[in-house]
């Protein structure tokens, strides 16, 4: 009976997920945790959002079996839990959080931390930081990626777009570039202090590097036709550009300005991603008529096809010797298509589906390679999803507004 209850609970928690997600058989091995709200003077709406963010953070990996009940400070029996997370969230000019981790078996507080963030709107990061600290305290695998910004672009009207910073749940959002057509944001460093983006506001597309903390901005390169920064490795970047009207992938050393053309196919070559030790790249090309995933050494000419299924595979990412890509599996060129995301080794072997329903695109590895982000589109809505590669847990968050054009995290 107990297993049945847990089964139903788990199914509800992960409802609306992709069909490849397993019903976990190891729920008994997870730490059962309840969250107690000890906040004072916070509006119920915001406090409810904050609780939901804490809950989502705990659900992001398979280590906690989190009780979704929003407990207040008193009057509940938590004898069937392993831990209690007690929090006090407050808002004045800034947002503050005290979080305590209590071990139920010993009834002892084993961790307590205070957090403050000057900008109230960034309060989701308080929850993320606190939960990732709890993971670290309990020596669970790191989920520090939940503290990172996601940067994405989306169209607002014809030839108009905006570039937005958000947290991984999309609860925090801030437009950082608006007006005109500015696209393809890409973090320029691991610390997320600088980003590359392409401005299409003049006759020639131009790639800029912007420091989001002080606003300093420098021009990297211009190219007729198109210009996209696809990947970053220290001072080197992979870009798709077309100085002669032919879209090819180049590696540019941003310090020396040296450009090295990596592809020369007469069709389309885009989306270069460093792979393995960084001496090779995967990319999207169409030598057989439709988009597919290929691999080549940065210093050689031989090219190998990595994927042998799907009607159109036009998005990919790489981390170490792993790749992810989206694959169109229906014949129609138009809507109602099914796009699924696959994980494979960088030589194209060990292919494993990560999704099995709907339209799933823009797969992107987390900074530590443990999680894959993707965008799931439906008829009138879309959501951003995260698949934990270790246990295939998935969580999704709705995206309001127009569809995402490009993203990075």
């Amino acid at each position: 009976m107990r297993f049945l209850v847990i089964f139903i609970f788990s199914f509800y928690l992960f409802a609306d997920v992709d069909a490849t997600i397993r019903i976990e058989k190891d729920v008994e091995s997870r730490s059962r945790v309840a969250i107690i709200d000890d906040s004072v003077g916070v509006s119920p709406n915001i406090n409810s959002k904050f609780f939901d963010i804490l809950l989502a953070d705990l659900k992001i990996s398979g280590h906690f079996l989190a009780d979704k009940t929003h407990y207040m400070a008193k009057g509940s029996d938590f004898g069937n839990k392993d831990y209690i997370i007690k929090y006090r969230f407050s808002i004045e000019d800034s947002a503050s959080l005290n979080i305590q981790l209590i071990e139920v078996s010993s009834n002892k507080q084993i961790m307590s931390k205070n957090y403050n963030i000057p900008s109230f709107s960034k309060y989701p990061f308080l929850a993320h930081q606190a939960v990732s600290d709890i993971y670290q305290f309990l020596k669970y695998p790191s989920i520090s990626w939940i503290n990172r910004y996601i940067v994405f672009s989306r169209y607002t009207s014809k030839k108009q777009s905006e570039i937005i910073l958000s947290d991984y749940t999309m609860n925090y959002r801030k437009v950082i570039i608006s007006g005109g057509l500015n696209l393809f944001p890409k973090w320029a460093d691991k610390e997320q202090r600088n980003l590359y983006y392409t401005s299409y506001n003049s006759l020639i597309p131009t790639l800029y590097k912007l420091n989001i903390y002080n606003g300093s901005k420098s021009k990297i390169v211009s190219s007729e036709g198109m210009l996209v920064c696809s990947d970053v490795k220290g001072s080197k970047i992979l870009v798709t550009m077309a100085p002669n009207g032919q879209p090819d992938i180049y590696e540019i050393d941003t310090q020396s300005g040296v450009k090295n053309r990596l592809t020369s196919f007469s069709g389309i070559d885009v989306k270069g991603r460093y792979v393995d030790d960084g001496d090779s790249m995967i990319f999207v090309s169409n030598p057989l008529g439709s988009a597919n995933i290929y691999k080549k050494s940065l210093y050689g000419s031989s090219i190998s096809q990595l994927v042998y299924h799907g009607k159109n595979n036009n998005s990919c990412d790489a981390y170490g010797n792993k790749i992810v890509y989206s694959s169109r599996e229906t014949k129609s060129g138009y809507s109602q298509n099914r796009f699924n995301i696959y994980l494979a080794s960088s030589n194209g072997y060990n292919t494993k589906p990560l999704t099995s329903t709907g339209s799933n695109q823009l797969p992107t590895f987390s900074s530590d390679g443990s999680v894959v982000l993707y965008v799931k589109s439906r008829a009138n809505s879309s959501s951003i999803g995260y698949i934990n590669l270790k246990d295939l847990k998935t969580v999704q968050f709705p995206i309001s507004g127009r569809k995402i054009q490009s993203l990075d995290w």
Partner: protein, 172 residues
């Protein structure tokens, strides 16, 4: 003591600088852009599109200056024979102009990086055809706009077809 140090550290970590101030981008000359620093994250307004073409929309569809857009099949960048008459008419107008801009466009299917390349290949196909018709290569500028500039947002095949095109604009 450790707790105080931690609170200070985490406050710094969470991006200080709560004052709002406006600065000019340090490396941009002759720019009207304004960057607002707020909580450590800058906002930039780059103003409206600064393309320098004749935007009178006196032409058909997405083109201007009496020029006509050229349409493409799904996923393709080869010019179909039924578009040749339009290209011929356009080339006669272009020969008397200093400079023109070709804007490649796509429907909304596929990822945008691939679509930008597809739009550019469409513009390049038109450019090559214009050169073959005697237009001076130096007169032609190309840019791909991917799926950013749809003429139609309905979910019909007819609508999607209107968005797979190359627009012509005369540059002042």
């Amino acid at each position: 003591m450790k707790l105080k140090i931690f609170i200070i550290a985490i406050s710094i970590f969470f991006i200080g600088c709560s004052d709002k101030k406006k600065v000019k981008p340090s490396n941009v000359t002759n720019s009207s852009e304004t960057i607002t620093i707020d909580g450590g994250v800058s906002s930039e307004n780059t103003g409206s599109s600064a393309a320098g073409y004749n935007n009178s929309y006196g032409g058909l569809d997405g083109s201007s200056g009496g020029l006509k857009s050229i349409y493409f099949e799904f996923g393709q960048y080869s010019i179909s024979s039924d578009m040749q008459e339009r290209i011929d008419q356009n080339s006669n107008i272009i020969k008397n102009k200093n400079k023109i801009k070709l804007e490649g466009n796509c429907d909304e299917f596929g990822t945008d990086e691939y679509n930008f390349a597809l739009g550019l290949k469409r513009a390049k196909a038109i450019k090559d055809d214009l050169i073959a018709k005697g237009v001076n290569e130096s007169k032609i500028i190309m840019i791909s706009l991917g799926e950013s500039t749809p003429l139609c947002r309905d979910t019909t095949d007819e609508c999607y077809a209107k968005n797979r095109r190359v627009d012509f604009h005369i540059v002042n």
